[in-house]
Each structure stands twice: as structure tokens, then as C-alpha cells.
């Protein structure tokens, strides 16, 4: 499972230029968490998660929204993609679309985990 989680983050980061992206990354991470829940128990999954799933969802929505709002500060229209000039080692170039993609990633994980835990604990 740690491997899958790391892989999902890898997918998320490289998504803009190579195959991958926040959506797929989120799904892969979710799969990892689901398998964990099946292997042990939903309760174990809940214990594993640092925050409640709905917090993940709201954090994801918020970061997607913020990524859209950042360009407003520089006087550009909502949701203009902004990029830092210099790439950061390992991660590569970062910019607001990456933040946006992170939002998608978090929302996907949060939503599915939330639904699953709700179902499983019912």
C-alpha cells in the first residue's frame, strides 16, 4: 500500500507532462486505501487516515478554489494558470494547475473513502 500511495503522488505530479494526473492519482490512492480496508477492516482504515474523509474533500475543494483565486491577486482573470519560472528539483515545475490537480486528487480520495466508510460502517 505505501508503494501505491507513493505511485499515486508520482502520477499526480508528473500528470501535466506525462501520463497521469490528479484524477488517476486519486483513484490509485483510493484503491490502495480500499484494499487496506478489505484486508484489515474499515475501522483500521479510519484509524489510519490522519483526518476525517470529509476534511479531505473540503481541503481538496478549497485548494482547487485557491488555485483559481491566486491569479486574481496578480490582476489576471480567475483560473489563469500561473507557473513558477524555475523548476524545483524532484517535483519539477510547479504552478497553480498543479495545486488544482492536487485538489482533484484530494477530493477523489476523500469522496470515495467517505462513501466507503459510510457504507461499511452502516
Amino acid at each position: 500500500m505505501p508503494l501505491m500511495l507513493v505511485f499515486s503522488v508520482f502520477l499526480l505530479i508528473r500528470g501535466h507532462n506525462e501520463v497521469g494526473g490528479g484524477f488517476v492519482g486519486g483513484l490509485v490512492a483510493t484503491n490502495a486505501l480500499m484494499l487496506y480496508a478489505i484486508a484489515l477492516s474499515p475501522a483500521a482504515l479510519r484509524k489510519l487516515l490522519p483526518v476525517e474523509p470529509h476534511v479531505l474533500v473540503s481541503a481538496g475543494l478549497l485548494s482547487a478554489l485557491i488555485s483559481g483565486l491566486i491569479p486574481l491577486l496578480t490582476g489576471q482573470p480567475f483560473m489563469t494558470g500561473l507557473w513558477l519560472k524555475n523548476p524545483i528539483p524532484v517535483i519539477g515545475k510547479i504552478g497553480t494547475p498543479l495545486l488544482f490537480d492536487t485538489g482533484v486528487y484530494l477530493v477523489v480520495i476523500g469522496v470515495v473513502t467517505w462513501i466507503l466508510l459510510t457504507l461499511a460502517e452502516e
Partner: protein, 809 residues
Amino acid sequence: MILLAYSILLGILVSLLAPLLYRQFRRFSAVLAVFPLAIFIQLCLVIPAIVTGETLQMTVPWVPGLGLSLNLRLDGLSLVMALLISGIGALIVVYGGAYLHGHPFLGRFYSLVILFMTAMLGVVLSSNALLLFVFWELTSISSFFLIGFEHQKANARAAAWQALLVTGSGGLAMLAGFALLAKITGSFEISRWIESSATIITDPLANAAFFLVLLGAATKSAQFPFHFWLPNAMEAPAPVSAYLHSATMVKAGVYLLARLFPVFGQMALWPVVITALGLLTLVSGALLALAQTDMKRLLAYTTISALGSMVFFLGLGNELAIKTAVIVLIAHALYKGALFLVAGGVDHGTGSRDIAVLGGIGRAMPFTAAAAGLAGLSMAGLPPLLGFIAKELMYETTLDAALPGLLTGLLLVANVCMVAVAGWVGYQPFWGKPGQKDLHPHEGSTGLWLPPLILAILSFLLGILPQLTGKWLVAPAVQAVLQIPAKVKLSLWHGFTPMLGLSALTLLLGIGLLAARRRIQPAITAFWHALAKFGPASMYPRSLHAVLSFASLQTRLLQNGYLRIYVSSIVVVTAVLAFVTMALRSIQFTIPTFQPPRFYDVILVGIILIATFLVTRARSRLATIALLGSIGFSIALIFLLYGAPDLAMVQFAIETLTVILFVLVLYRLPKFKQFSSRRARIIDLMIALMGGVLMTILMLMVSAPDSDAHVARYYVENSLPLANGRNIVNVILVDFRGFDTLGEITVLAVAAIGVFSLIKLTAKGKPKRQVPVTGEKNNASLHPALSRSPLLNALNAGVFSLPAHSRTQ
């Protein structure tokens, strides 16, 4: 102006921080009033510029793709409104702190009031209609929360709903009207509409646009027959009633009509419809007021009447009438705001607002009584208060209009009622005979009597300085409405004119009515009570009930909880609509030349076919799931082989997830016991065939060579330079169509909340039966995210039309 614009936007931030500030500085929370006060002072500083005919503007592009930008514009009309909003806002914050002292939700109150103020300033400063709409709805929403402030009370909740539904649906109509205007002129800028007024009023859509916008204004400003929400909104705390429901928000509709007067004013319909609407509201509001005994409801009905008079004068539309409308607007905001605050103070000091009970409390509450007296005199229209000037002008305008006899007569009736109500609220509770002995009145803290007193004194000051009022406040506003320079000379004394005679007559009759309250009021109440079941207020529960029963009908019909019905109805509807469209447009498609299939294509297609056949024969859920899974994985492999790695990856992940989720809920689901009948299967087969044929045709059309190749080329060419990414699919998702994706993840989040609440809430009521149903729904909720636009768009443009490019990846 820039400073002003930013300080208004700052309001949203202040609103968010207000509860925190309140928690930190509990005792000094009235310092929040500094914020509206600062805006008020800034506005005062620009008055000289506005008087010379300048308008201040600023523009920040916001969502240029939608034609939406933050265009703010300050002219005379906006200035008057903005001064009222910020000035009264500051007083309301102070008053609210005292009125709700120690209330557990005081922090929330501050937050909502500041939010409302920001929204309201936005409404009067927007020069872009879409922006105006956004702020307009924001005022409705903050009004909803403020009316429902005492949310433990069922009445307050119902009143909040009612206000939101009435003004909200009016707002939607208004948006439709704006859209029509934008269609005619090609712009959402109000200034453009004014320029092209001649084109607009000759357009065939003009009438529709006019009535739709009017609907928005009439619901917001509580015009007949939408007036009923306003008295019910009196469930709100007194400062809210004073601020939103008399001084500012309800004037938004009047403001909108005044703002659009240069656009629609020359229409033949304008004088007829607007005048009739205003007159009806003016008279009915005043007469309805007579039946009330609650101070706030009395004031609410007279507010409706006053709003009606403003609309009426806007309808007449000559220079004198516009001038009158502006003066009435200012005078009304000042005296009515003060009286509402007084009503709150009386309630606070005695525990009652019933004028049948109250009396003789003036000695114990001298400052409140003084404020009430001054404001009441202004409402009754006595010199030297601003209300007097307003009333003289009203009579002058109607005497000058067509049908002077009728109009003046109706106006007289309404004004007589006003005088009476002013006495009932401003005089009798304080100096009249008490209906009950043990009132124990006491004066509240300074914050409770100072704000109404300030407003009342302002009515007095503006009244004794009529030239200044006319020049600095009224003239610029009149000029903004008429779009020509206007000179306004106001004075208290015109000599012995017919207007003065009418004023005196009004006063005499009014005082007669005032004194006779105890004798006549029961009769009036009984009369209106008998009429009530024909009134528009009874339409509200009826239409609400109709909507609800329609909703439950269509829920039973469409949302019956059986996944198979959902699937088949979706497929049938889609297929029928698509086929009809194709037939109507006689769409043609060519069958492309096929490349010879490769051997792994054959194998995969073979697997899919066999699995599909077996699914229909499967006798256990586990087998079905496994077979469906193998179909999904084979499709993913095909995606991979044809150069759509992103899609394949998503498909793999989704398939895995679906299987996992199925496994989780599997043992909760019942076994396949009943199999469908032969007839049902044939029907299902037909539906499936329809869907299959449709998809085949669509695929053929999509793969036709010329289909939207330029869209694909655009994405391919601009992906790297514009969006800095080489993965076109992802770039489309997060950048080009990022707005859609934002919407989608929101939908996803809402779906999750829905699943959560469905399961958690229904679990309490009827636990067993609901489980499989919601279990099925939950899978359905995953798919919309996949099937909606950006991804499809990406597939369409980035993948299928361009196999050659993608394969090289």
C-alpha cells in the same frame, strides 16, 4: 474610487472575521462599526465630485469568458443608496451589539450584517448586470439567514424560506430579463443598454425583458402581489428589520427600476404598468397597515406602501416625479429605520410591541421617545422635517399628472393612513393611555437609543436645510436617473398652495384616525381577515404545496430506487432524443475504411463479446461482477492499444475500485432470486439494442475525418505554450476546461454528502430496506464524474481524432 472599491471587497473579509473579532473583544465589538463608518466617510468625500456631474468608475476583469467583470460605477443614484447603506449600517452594528447583548449568536449577526452591507453596496455600485445579479442574490441569501436568525422558532424559519423563495425566484426572472437584454445589445454593461435604449425598446423581446426585470424588482421591493413576505420577515431581530427590510434591501427593486429608467423609460408600457403597480401597492399597503397592532408589522405594511409610492413616481417618469421618488426614498429610509429601531428598543424595554398594550412609557424611556417622536413627525409629514418636503412634492406631482383627481385622492388616502400609523407607533405607546399596567419600562443602554435618535435628527437636519439636501443629494441622483443635468431646489415653505392645503387635510383626517384607533381597528381587522383567503398570501402555501407534490410525483415516477429503471430510462431518453435530432437534421456519416484487425484486437473483442453474453446468463452476483470486471479491463486494454494511456489508466483504476466496492457491499445484497420474465427481457433487449446502435452511429460520426479537427488542433498546438504541459488530456482537465472540472469535483463532493446523509439519516428510520438501494446509488454516483464534459472533451479532441500523435507518446 479604487480605495472605495477595495474597501467594499474588504467587507467580505471583515464579514468572515467578524465572529472572531467578537469572540476576542467581546465588550468592544461595536468597533466593527468603524468599517461601515469608514466607507461612509469615503463616500462623503466624493460627494463634491459627484455633484459636478462626474461618475467614478473602475474595472477589474473577473471571468472574461462569461462577459463578467468587476465593473463598479458610482454616480448620484448609487451615491445616495451607498450613503444610506453604509451610514445606517454603522448605526445598525452599534445598535445590534446592544440589542442582542449577550446573545449566543451575536458574532454571527455581525458577520451576516457586514456581509449584507457588502452585497448591498455591490448591488448599487455594479455597472455590470451579471455582477449586480450576483450581489443581488447575495443580499437575498443574507436576508434569509437574518430573518431566520432565531432559527429555533418555526415561524422565523418559515418566514426566512418565504422571503428567500419569493425574492429568489424574482431574482431568477430578473436574470432571464438581463440575458434577453444582453442578447439584444450584445453586452451585460448597463451603460451599453442605456446607450442602445432606442434599439432595445423597438426589439420584439423588449416586453419580455421588461416584465422579467420588473418581476425581480417587484419581488425584492415587496410590490403587490408579492408584498406578503415583508410583514412575515418581521420575525427578524429589530436591527435587521430596520436595515434590510425598510432602509436598504427592499429599496433594491426601486433602485433597479430607477437605474433602468433610461433603458425602459420610453416604452409605452412603462408609465402604465409601473404606475399601476406602484399605486396598487401604495394604497393596499397603507390600508392593510391599519389592521395591525404589532409595531413592527405596522411599520412593515407602511414600508410596503412607501415602496409603492416610490415605484409609482418612477412610473410617472417626469423630472418632478423622479425628484419626488428620490426624496421619498431618503426620507423613508431615515424615519422608518429610526422607527424600527425604536420598536426594537420598546420591545427590549417593556417586553412587548403590541400597541394595544403599550402606553405611557415615554417618561421612562425619554430618549427613545424623542427619537420616535421626531421620526413619527417625519413620517406623518410635518414641517420642518424631511417627510414634509417629501409629502408636499408628492402632492405637487400628482396634481401635475394626468388624472390629477384620482391620483391625488388615492395618495391622500394612503397618506392619511401614514399619519395615523405614525401616531400609533411614534406617539401613543409613549404618551397614550396604557392598555396594561405592569409594563415596567426602562431605557436601554446608549447603543439602543442613540442610533434611532441620530437617524431621527438627520430627518430633521435634512429637512431644515432643504437647499443643501437638494443640491448635494437629490440633484445628482435625479441627474443619474434622467441622464440630463437636473437642478433641484427644495424648500419648506412654498406659500399658500394647493399642496399645503392637502397636507393640512391629510393631517386632520390622520389625527382623527389616530384618535379613533380603539374604536375602528377591530372592524378593519375583521374586514381584512375576511378578505385574506382571496389574497396573494394564500397563493404562497398553495404554490409551495403544488411544487412539493409535483416533486414527490416525479420522484415516485423516476427516482424509484431501482437501478434498472434508472439505466433503462436514461438509455431510452438519450437514444430517442439523439435519433430524433439525427432525423431532423438528416445527419450523414460515412463508414470509414477499416484497417485489418490485429490479432490482439480480435482476442480482446472476443473476450468482451463472450463476457457480455455470459453476463446476461449469469446466475449469481459474484459471477456478474467478475464478468463485468473483465469487460472493463478489456476495454481499458483497447484504450491502451489505441494510444490513450490516460484513459486506460482511469479505466483500470475505476474498474478496480468498482470491483472492490461491489465486494464490500456484496454480502449485504440479496441473492438473485427472482429473474425477470420473458417479456421484460425482450424489452430490455430492445433498449440495449437501441443504446448500442446509437453508440455505434455516434462513434462513426465522431471518427469521420472532418469532425471538429480544429478543436483538437487548438488543444494540441496550445497545450505547451499556453498551459505549460505536454499531456494534453490533463492540460484540458486542469487548465483549458478547469472551470468544468472545478464544477465536477464539487458535484462529486455533493454526491458524497448525499450518500452520507442518505445512509446515516435513513438508517435511523427504516434501516434494513434502504441499504441495497443506496448501495447501488453510490456506484452510480461515481460515474457522472467520468462521463461528464472535460473528460469526454479530452477523449474527443486529444485521443480519438489523433491516434497518430498519441501513439507516439
